[in-house]
Assembly symmetry: C2
Homo-oligomer: 114 residues x 2
Amino acid sequence: MVIERKDMKAEVRERLRGGEGNTEILHLVNCEKEKNIRMLAEMTLQPGCSIGTHNHDSETEYYIILSGSGIINDNGADAPVKTGDVVITGGGSSHSLCNTGDVPLVLHAVIVTY
Amino acid sequence: MVIERKDMKAEVRERLRGGEGNTEILHLVNCEKEKNIRMLAEMTLQPGCSIGTHNHDSETEYYIILSGSGIINDNGADAPVKTGDVVITGGGSSHSLCNTGDVPLVLHAVIVTY
């Protein structure tokens, strides 16, 4: 099945997970119809916006940074992220992500459940 | 865990699944260490290159087209794909993909198992 971008569901979440500003989410797939995947989305954080700290239990989230840069808090430790990096968070670990740059931070978010 | 692009495993597969030319694969994650995910990769097909027809049993593959265009054979039917499109193939369905354009066709491939 081919899904065109114009047919994907877009939403804007305010202060996602207690973060700052908005998280723009384009749902690439309706995961309610899929198995072992809870999210497959493109997310955009404008400069200064963030996703707050949250855990991933019984699932793993993969962030694939498509453009921009920021700071990830990876289970308690801050680390820079930039275009091309991947962040893996699962098995009860936590993360948060802030766009500390001056251009949009765009990423693919994939959450695989187990 | 943050993985930088320079530390990801790259490989070139010739005539992947019986297709034409090469498929350049950058493994974003070592999926041997992960659960319910068999591939998370960036794939590049140069013009004229293709991935041959193959099935996905007990798993679903998601192609997220990052740039370029081509033709997907989606379980027997040809359809055009372009930047921003997503292709879902699972539950025993088959697909093949050919870069019929004149620029590289780049995509993220995600295979979720079940």
